[in-house]
């Protein structure tokens, strides 16, 4: 039916509908422009870092961008100021053939015992690969003394895991840029469980299960043992929250939780939490956490 033949009572309704469609088209065009503007704004923010400068904001965006082969002075300044301009979760530097990936911002800020509270802005780094392999936690399958009592921690019984990892970290960033912070670490075992903790100065440590999985798995037995394993490092790194694929690196690595009097926990090559004898060198990977500062 041609428009001209529309019965007179209906024609005003059709005309009105046509006008509304026209308005809708205009509105949609305007909306498209606004979306385009928003994209530009977001892109500009991501590129020039003019987003709100806070750890909370930068912890909430995964980007995964390569930041080059070294940390620039501007990047260190942004970390020092706590603005983290141009830095986002998942971004990484490739130094000495290792991808050093940002896992969290200001993770330990305000943590610490009296007189040792962390007040330094920092970016937590976790390497994409193990810094040492075929390492054991202890020379026999014991967990006496907890994590702090292990051969790995004390570099006893010819255990070179910690020294090797430390050399790789300081070689990449320089010791002056590694944050010394306080963590509660297990140092005793009673009745098959971690049973005590103390505050220690830490530059780099094995991750606990909570940092990786967001909960305790291999070490997750009676609550009291879990508490000691978690300590003050009690939140999952944002890297693993937003992109869990970074948990698995197709190679096993140790985590520092006590499973029982024989086993430490680990993340195996398939990415699941596990617990194995402390002297098992087939687990062996050292993939530590640490933080860089200005």
């Amino acid at each position: 039916m041609a428009v001209s033949t529309i019965p007179q009572p209906v024609k005003p309704l059709v005309d009105s509908l046509g006008a509304r469609v026209g308005n809708l088209e205009t509105g949609a065009t305007g909306l498209g422009t606004r979306v385009g503007n928003l994209e530009t704004v977001i892109n500009n923010f991501l590129i020039d870092g003019s987003l709100p400068g806070s750890a909370g904001f930068h912890n909430s965006i995964f980007r995964g961008k390569s930041l080059g082969g070294s940390v620039t002075e501007a990047q260190y300044a942004a970390i020092g100021a706590g603005t983290f301009d141009g830095l986002f979760i998942g971004d990484y530097w490739t130094i000495n053939n290792v991808n050093w990936r940002i896992a969290a911002f200001d993770y330990w800020l305000n943590h610490g015992d009296e007189g040792h509270v962390c007040q330094t802005h920092h970016a937590v780094i976790v390497p994409d690969t193990c810094l040492a392999t075929s390492c054991e936690m202890n020379s026999t399958d014991i967990t006496t003394g907890g994590y702090v009592g292990s051969d790995y921690y004390t570099a006893s019984n010819s255990n070179t895991g910690k020294a090797t990892a430390g050399a790789a970290i300081t070689g990449a960033f320089g010791a002056e840029h590694i944050l010394t912070h306080r963590e509660l670490l297990t140092n005793a075992i009673t009745d098959n469980l971690a049973s005590a903790w103390s505050w220690y100065d830490c530059m780099f440590e094995l991750m606990n299960e909570n940092m990786v999985f967001g909960s305790s798995r291999g070490g997750g037995r009676p609550q009291i043992g879990i508490n000691y394993n978690i300590g003050n490092s009690n939140a999952q790194f944002q890297l693993f929250v937003f992109s869990p694929n970074y948990i698995s690196i197709q190679a096993p690595y140790w985590t520092r939780d006590i499973n029982n009097e024989h086993n430490f926990t680990n993340v195996n090559a398939g990415g699941e939490g596990n617990a194995v004898g402390a002297s098992d060198t087939t687990v062996g990977g050292i993939r530590p956490e640490f933080a860089i500062k200005a």
Partner: protein
């Protein structure tokens, strides 16, 4: 944090507290009676009843230790285990006496 540890026999030790651990320059002779151990700081007082002493890993040569409390159930289990161990020894000794091995 500095604390004073007071044992039931009156022995007192001034120690440093770190987390759940206490730290002394060197390992002391702990009293045998740990039925009541009081830890006083400037802020509060904690009393451990039927305390169990656990030596912790030391990273600096000093003596690190902690106390936990033995629950009634844990106490019963421990006493049963001790009784069982004693009975086992008796049976083995009697076996040696009878069979000469």
């Amino acid at each position: 944090m500095e604390v004073t540890i007071i044992f039931k026999d009156g022995t007192e030790m001034a120690a440093e507290k770190n987390g759940t651990c206490f730290i002394l320059p060197q390992k002391p002779a702990f009293p045998d009676d740990l039925s009541e151990v009081t830890v006083e700081s400037g802020e509060d007082t904690r009393v451990y009843r039927n305390a169990v002493l656990t030596e912790c890993a030391s990273v600096d040569g000093r003596c690190w230790f902690t106390f936990t409390e033995e629950s009634a159930l844990e106490k019963t289990i421990r006493e049963l285990r001790e009784a069982n161990d004693m009975l086992t020894e008796c049976i083995l000794e009697m076996s040696e006496m009878i069979y000469g091995e």
